[in-house]
């Protein structure tokens, strides 16, 4: 038997035995590789300070509460008579001017939680009561019946991309996303994985590992096969976040069939020294996103991609003694893409009617998610969020 034939057969065997119950059966029915709409979720971890991102530069309460860290009226990049971007978001002004950038103000959820981990879990599961143990993208994967419809960038898969049926992949770098062994050993190893575990070791966990290994090898094959198609269409800045977005562009250009990408940028927990740290983060964010956007145009895919950015909470109105801000509540989200209706959406929190010192939320984040599901990915949001429904904010073009 030729090596290629051997591999072909073992993949069939693998697929047949990899069965997460009921899952692969649905995979067979799942949509093929037609050019669909793609969602790129950008997670700003640590609690991005919404008030120094979208600055309420006509608001006296803002300046009174932040004598040290406020962004002065002179520095703000004005978007309206009352609000403007932090100057570090300059790379985004082009997107704003062409109407491809929407900012949603006052985003949060009922009974806000100021713990990073609890609040992040709420955003990941889209359940403000934190009772839900499945991620919203994990549920999408269940619905599509495709364990390779979405991927995270990084080494571990966050809750958002997990469900009871599937742990969606995490890729830290597409170049490293391959297993290389000499052919005879490679074949033997695949043969080993094709057989269910028996014997002394705890069957449940060992079987779980075996299935995951099988799936991993399948995913790497799918990615490597298509990578050659990409030619860089933009110069990316130097940051881990930017190289992740570059990898996303490569996978989109190669049409590997992924519909949701999840990329994170950390460090937003600015309890101290915010005037030094926060601008750097916003610069990293906006310059990478802007390069990614140019690359998508070069790849001819700009029309198909919607970016959605969030953070687990905003920060307190009043600065602390360390030139920083502590954990707060409402924050801002943003949406970027040709399908977006540019501008400010949602109501800005009233800085004189605070909730224990924090801006109060005016827009439930699930409404923002819902609109992306219904209006972009074409998935009825109630199938993911259950009975509760949210009116569309209108940040997407109809």
């Amino acid at each position: 038997m030729k090596r290629r034939d051997f591999l072909k057969t073992s993949f069939v065997t693998l697929a047949a035995s990899a069965g997460m119950p009921g899952f692969l059966e649905r995979t067979a029915r799942a949509a093929g590789s037609e050019r669909g709409k793609i969602l790129v979720v950008l997670q700003l971890s640590g609690g991005n300070d919404g008030l120094n991102t979208l600055v309420p530069y006509s608001n006296g309460a803002y300046y009174a509460a932040r004598p040290v860290i406020a962004v002065s009226k002179k520095e703000v990049l004005p978007l309206s008579g009352d609000f403007g971007f932090h100057p570090a978001l300059k790379p985004w002004m082009g997107l704003w001017d062409s109407g491809e950038l929407a900012v949603v103000q006052g985003v949060g959820y009922p009974n806000p939680n100021r713990s990073h981990f609890e609040s992040m879990a709420i955003w990941h599961s889209a359940d403000p009561l934190a009772r839900e143990t499945e991620g919203w993208i994990g549920k999408l994967a269940d619905r599509w019946g495709d364990p390779f419809c979405a991927t995270n960038f990084g080494s571990t898969t966050p809750l958002a991309l997990r469900s009871s049926e599937v742990i969606l992949p995490s890729i830290d770098s597409v170049d490293r996303f391959q297993l290389k062994l000499e052919p005879k050993l490679d074949a033997a190893y695949r043969e080993l994985l094709a057989q269910p575990v028996e014997g002394y070791s705890d069957k449940g966990k060992t079987e779980l590992l075996r299935k995951n290994l099988v799936q991993t090898l399948g995913n790497t094959a799918r990615v490597q096969k298509s990578l050659a198609k990409y030619k860089a269409g933009a110069a990316y800045p130097k940051s881990g976040f930017a190289s992740n977005l570059r990898d996303v562009a490569r996978l989109i250009a190669a049409d590997v069939g992924l519909r949701v990408y999840y990329v994170s940028l950390g460090g937003f927990d600015t309890h101290a020294g915010q005037p030094e740290d926060h601008p750097k983060l916003l610069e990293t964010l906006s310059s990478a996103v802007s390069a990614f956007r140019s690359d998508l145009t070069a790849q001819g895919r700009a029309d198909d991609v919607l970016m959605l950015g969030f953070s687990e909470f905003g920060r307190r109105l009043t600065e602390n003694a360390s030139a920083g801000t502590d954990h707060g509540k409402a924050g801002v989200m943003f949406a970027i893409g040709k399908g977006v209706k540019g501008g400010l959406h949602g109501a800005a929190p009233d800085l004189e009617k605070l909730d224990d010192g924090d801006p109060r939320f005016t827009t439930d984040f699930r409404g923002v998610y819902s609109e992306a599901l219904d209006g972009w990915l074409g998935v009825p949001s109630r199938e993911v969020f259950g009975k509760e429904s949210f009116a569309a904010l209108g940040y997407l073009l109809r």
Partner: protein, 464 residues
């Protein structure tokens, strides 16, 4: 809890103990524990010698800094030096439980070197885990509250009267003692933040050694003028509390033993602690004043620890996977190899001194993703195959380490030895069949390397 008293304490029993209480070990190390039997083996692991046989550690932070001062271009920077220092200890220590526990506490009192920006402070904190990790939990918490790396990491050095910084006060309850549902309020966060005002530290000049040629370790400082001496109400108690009072109150709260015992159990035994074991260990906690050695002794000597359902029941952390294969092979690491292993662990999802955030590593199924698994397989390939794929040779993540493999006088003996060395068991089922098919009757060093790969990449080997 009922003590484990088998008629015969087997090799696989002792291998199980060493996988959990340490990072696995060579056949002779396992056999030594086996000879001691289930009770003395645990005493041996708990034995608190200050000598861990790693005095020859090639990573000396002070020397690295001095070298840089003297203008010579040190080829290893401080954080890499710190990482190499711990990998060397993990791989060569004669006190494996202490290192395992240090890793547990590092994940619990998670502190990121990147924010602390002081390798001496990180090393000082790490040594505390070794020195105090087996003692009373309340002592360890107080040490952490006064620890410069922690004070810096959670911004308590910026926590001053009138403008409290809540970062440490919140995580103290949510992540270090009570757990997020442990029964505290936002008010408790705010009040206890005030109690820690003025708790800060001073460093020596990080760029200039003292007259004796050593850099000064940072030290705790209580800055009285920044301390808020006012009345506070905390977890139902009232008084003009300071930080010591808060630590005393929070560690005496009943949620603390529950939270810590459950976490220890998940790390050392299995995903879920039975309620009867939790109750017995809580009683031990109360009678011993929360002494960690007392709890670990009871756990590792218990029958339930050895139960069949608890064997190969935990997904290995990257440290267990990488350090385990080195220790089982009794490999000696050159400095660049220690750094290679550090990098390998990083791409598998566990960067020493750089946990993902203040919550540390969640572990369990969180270790499993395409990328982490792939990097495990690539490590197994790198250490067993002489010819590395071109891609990996360029890649920092691949350590230039090759395991010394046991080879028997016949193929079946080689297979048996590989199983015993790495799994503590005979290969069976699919693994045995695949090994036999692959070897095709040959017993050469080349074949042994392939067989070792199959063991190290097998689903079983990913479990402890």
């Amino acid at each position: 809890m009922r003590e484990y008293a088998p008629r015969q304490y087997t090799f696989s029993d002792a291998a199980h103990l060493l996988r959990r209480a340490g990072f696995a070990g060579g056949v002779s190390e396992v056999e030594a524990l086996q000879r001691l039997g289930p009770s003395l083996a645990v005493e041996r692991l708990l034995y608190a010698s200050t000598d861990d046989n790693t005095a020859d550690n090639p990573f000396d932070l002070n020397a690295l800094f001095l070298e840089r001062q003297n203008g010579s271009k040190a080829n290893i920077d401080a954080n890499a030096g710190l990482s190499g220092w711990w990998v060397h200890r993990l791989a060569h220590t004669s006190q494996p439980l202490k290192e395992k526990l240090a890793l547990f506490w590092h994940g619990h009192f998670a502190t990121e070197a990147q924010k602390v920006e002081n390798a001496f402070a990180m090393q000082q904190q790490n040594e505390l885990f070794r020195q105090k990790g087996l003692g009373r939990f309340s002592d360890l918490v107080l040490e952490m509250a006064k620890n410069p790396a922690m004070l810096r990491y959670l911004d308590n050095n910026r926590n001053v009267k009138g403008k409290p910084n809540e970062n440490f006060a919140r995580e103290l309850m949510e992540l270090f003692t009570l757990g997020v549902h442990g029964g505290y309020t936002e008010r408790d966060v705010q009040e206890s933040a005030r109690a820690f005002t003025g708790w800060t530290f001073q460093t020596g000049n990080p760029n200039k050694p003292e007259e004796n040629g050593r850099f000064t370790n940072p030290t705790f400082v209580f800055n009285k003028k920044n301390f808020d001496d006012g009345a506070k109400t905390y977890l139902g108690a009232s008084g003009n509390f300071g930080g010591e009072d808060v630590v005393r109150i929070v560690t005496a709260h009943p949620s603390t033993p529950k939270f810590i015992i459950t976490k220890l159990w998940k790390f050392f035994v299995s995903d879920t602690i039975p309620s009867s074991d939790l109750a017995e260990l809580t009683a031990l906690w109360n009678s011993s004043g929360g002494e960690i050695a007392v709890l670990l002794r009871a756990i590792f000597k218990s029958e339930v620890f050895y139960a069949k359902a608890n064997r190969f029941a935990l997904i290995k952390s990257p440290a267990e996977y990488a350090i385990g294969m080195l220790r089982s092979s009794q490999s000696r690491l050159a400095p660049e190899q220690s750094l290679g292993i550090f990098n390998a662990m990083r791409v598998m999802g566990q960067t020493l001194f750089q946990p993902p955030n203040v919550k540390g590593w969640d572990g369990g199924s969180d270790w499993v993703s395409d990328t982490t698994l792939l990097n495990r397989l690539n490590l197994a390939g790198a250490v067993t195959q002489r010819k590395l794929p071109a891609q990996l040779q360029k890649d920092q993540a691949a350590p230039p380490t090759v395991l010394t493999l046991p080879i028997g006088s016949s193929l079946s003996e080689t297979i048996e030895l590989l199983g015993k060395t790495y799994l503590g068991e005979q290969p069976d089922g699919a693994l045995l069949r695949t090994m036999q098919l692959y070897a095709d009757g040959k017993n050469t060093p080349e074949v042994a390397r392939g067989l070792a790969y199959l063991v190290l990449a097998s689903p079983q080997y990913h479990l402890a």
